[in-house]
């Protein structure tokens, strides 16, 4: 590298850091920095009325999975916590599956529209994507509540005789999350299918493949990076969901997000809440790393 080039690189680095500094400071104060506090708090002792006492303790971490018996002090598995983790993970997986089952045909449909219509269909997916999550959750509640649109329609049609009790169950949370996170599945799937070379289908049919074989052997393997991306983009917010389970789960059917809130707002156990937050953060980061790898592979079809 010549001296002039070297100077140019150094100047570029200096200006780059200087120009980014205000944004970085703001993020350090109000987004990244506070996460450090959460990590520290997870190793402290809970205070009597919420908050913490500054004594080192691993209890926050231990109590994620175990409870101490009040009589003999032995550790036992915390069943209530395990139920909440299991509900969070299983509901998030089911949400991802439902979103894929509906999202893949939808993305395929949009990608195979004539070019002029495509932008319109895509816009129809994007509007809900940017619409307030709370409003969309209220909207789906309007449909599945006891006297909601669904029950009214089914009763009117004579299909059921008593209203279906969907609201405030795990099913309600599942329907709600699939509804609010569906656009996150459709958009990356569309991006992958849009790049798909339709001539490959011709080749498949020329070689006497059936529709099903073409779908399974040609389409799915090629758009797989889009499937991974969409699945992770749905799975991550589902796992950290707070608003949807609070509104549709009715307080009983908690997920990790609501469980974390409970530790802080009911003032019960801040270190446990902090440890749970760090756990959630680690899982989400791991999922994101998988996503980045899939996305990189997607941009390089021969990789």
């Amino acid at each position: 590298m010549s001296a002039a080039e070297d100077r140019l690189t150094r100047q570029s680095a200096r200006n780059g850091w200087l120009l980014s500094a205000p944004a970085l400071v703001l993020l350090m104060v109000a987004a990244i920095g506070p996460l450090v506090i959460i990590i520290i708090y997870s190793f402290l002792t809970p205070g009597q009325y919420g908050n913490v006492v500054w004594d080192f303790s691993l209890d926050g971490w231990v109590s994620i999975l175990f409870t101490r018996d009040i009589f003999d002090g032995t550790l036992g598995l915390a069943d209530a916590h395990l139920t909440i983790f299991w509900r969070s993970v299983s509901l998030s997986i089911m949400t991802t599956v439902v979103a894929f089952a509906l999202g893949f045909p939808t993305a395929w449909f949009i990608a195979t529209r004539p070019a002029r219509q495509r932008a319109m269909w895509l816009f129809l997916i994007t509007i809900p994507f940017w619409t307030n999550l709370l409003i969309r959750t209220f909207a789906i509640m309007e449909v599945i509540r006891a006297e909601g649109v669904l029950n009214t329609a089914l009763l009117w049609a004579g299909i059921i005789e008593t209203p279906l009790a969907i609201i405030y169950t795990d099913v309600a949370v599942l329907i709600g999350m699939a509804y609010v996170y569906l656009p996150l599945m459709v958009l990356p799937l569309f991006a992958a299918i849009d790049r798909f070379d339709m001539r490959l289908l011709e080749a498949g049919y020329d070689l006497y493949a059936s529709r099903w074989q073409v779908l399974r052997r040609v389409i799915l393997p090629i758009v797989k990076p889009g499937i991974v991306a969409g699945s992770i983009l749905v799975f991550i917010p589902s796992l950290g969901a707070y608003v949807t389970p609070r509104v549709l789960g009715g307080g009983k059917n908690m997920m990790i997000g609501n469980f974390i809130e409970l530790q802080f707002l009911a003032g019960r156990n801040w270190p446990l809440g902090a440890a749970l937050s760090v756990t959630l953060l680690v899982i989400v980061t791991a999922a994101l790393l998988i996503y980045v790898r899939a996305a990189n592979r997607g941009s390089n079809p021969h990789g």
Partner: protein, 267 residues
């Protein structure tokens, strides 16, 4: 009977599922909007058309205050986040790669990756300490928090716009003895304008929609529209919530339409 052409890209059933999905996507929103015009005070039984829930919401002091607060926070957050995001975009695009540029990129996008509930409790602890130490309880905390998580939303469209601009005009300005500031002011900024406006709008919408972080950071009596609506859940819901939702929805659609017109690629 005409022979049906074998369409290569058609997969049986997909169009049906897709159309059904679009219906499922919009039916709940349609129901929400419809009941905002209900004359009765139920969100389930239709009793005729009326605008009185909009009137009620408009005359409700709590809603008025929450609206004002939401708008103040969103405007401040949009201005602050767009300003710092524009600078950061200038610092990270169209230049030689440098040590740490990946770090800056990841840091800027960090709010997109961390679950909101985690940031929310972290900020609650931090700002709780500051509130205790300084006694200041104002909107500043919410503005600060919103400005931070809006940064990536402002940054991405600005960066995309910058990447599409080549450096020749700026080089020409430099050749004609414009100072770096003059070049920025008279060449780069006007070209970048639509990107900045698009970024500011996204930041505004994102701030306006936020529930979780606001819920945890706000001091007593600092409800924004979304946290006010969340609070209504504890009571019997009336179509007033539908009316507020519909108004917010309309605002979002208008802003998004403008956003798409701004960022549309020139044909």
């Amino acid at each position: 009977m005409a022979e049906r052409r074998f369409e290569i890209s058609r997969i049986p059933g997909f169009a049906t599922v897709a159309v059904a999905t679009f219906v499922m996507l919009y039916l709940p929103i349609a129901a929400l909007v419809t009941y905002s015009f209900n004359a009765g005070n139920s969100v389930a039984v239709w009793e005729g058309f009326s605008l009185h829930w909009y009137q009620d919401a408009w005359n409700n002091q709590a809603v008025k205050d929450a609206t004002a607060r939401s708008l103040i926070i969103a405007v401040c957050a949009a201005v602050i986040s767009t300003t710092v995001a524009t600078l950061a975009a200038m610092g990270t695009t169209r230049r030689a790669r440098f040590r740490g540029d990946t770090f800056i990129y990841v840091a800027i996008n960090q709010p997109l990756m961390v679950p909101e509930i985690v940031t929310a409790v972290a900020l609650m602890i931090l700002f709780g300490m500051v509130k205790e130490a300084t006694g200041y309880q104002g909107l500043g905390y919410l503005i600060l928090a919103h400005s931070a998580f809006c940064i990536p939303f402002a940054y991405l469209p600005i960066r995309a716009r910058l990447e599409g601009m080549d450096l020749s005009l700026e080089t020409a300005a430099g050749d004609l003895y414009a100072t770096p500031w003059q070049t920025f002011r008279h060449v780069t900024l006007p070209l970048l304008g639509p990107g900045i406006l698009a970024g500011a709008m996204l930041a505004f919408v994102i701030s306006l929609d936020d529930v979780i972080i606001t819920e945890f950071v706000k001091s007593g009596g600092q409800d924004t529209l979304p946290t006010y609506m969340l609070g209504q859940l504890r009571r019997t819901m009336t179509p007033e919530v539908n009316a507020i939702s519909t108004a917010l929805l309309a605002l979002t659609v208008v802003l998004l339409t403008i956003f798409f017109l701004l960022t549309r690629k020139r044909e």
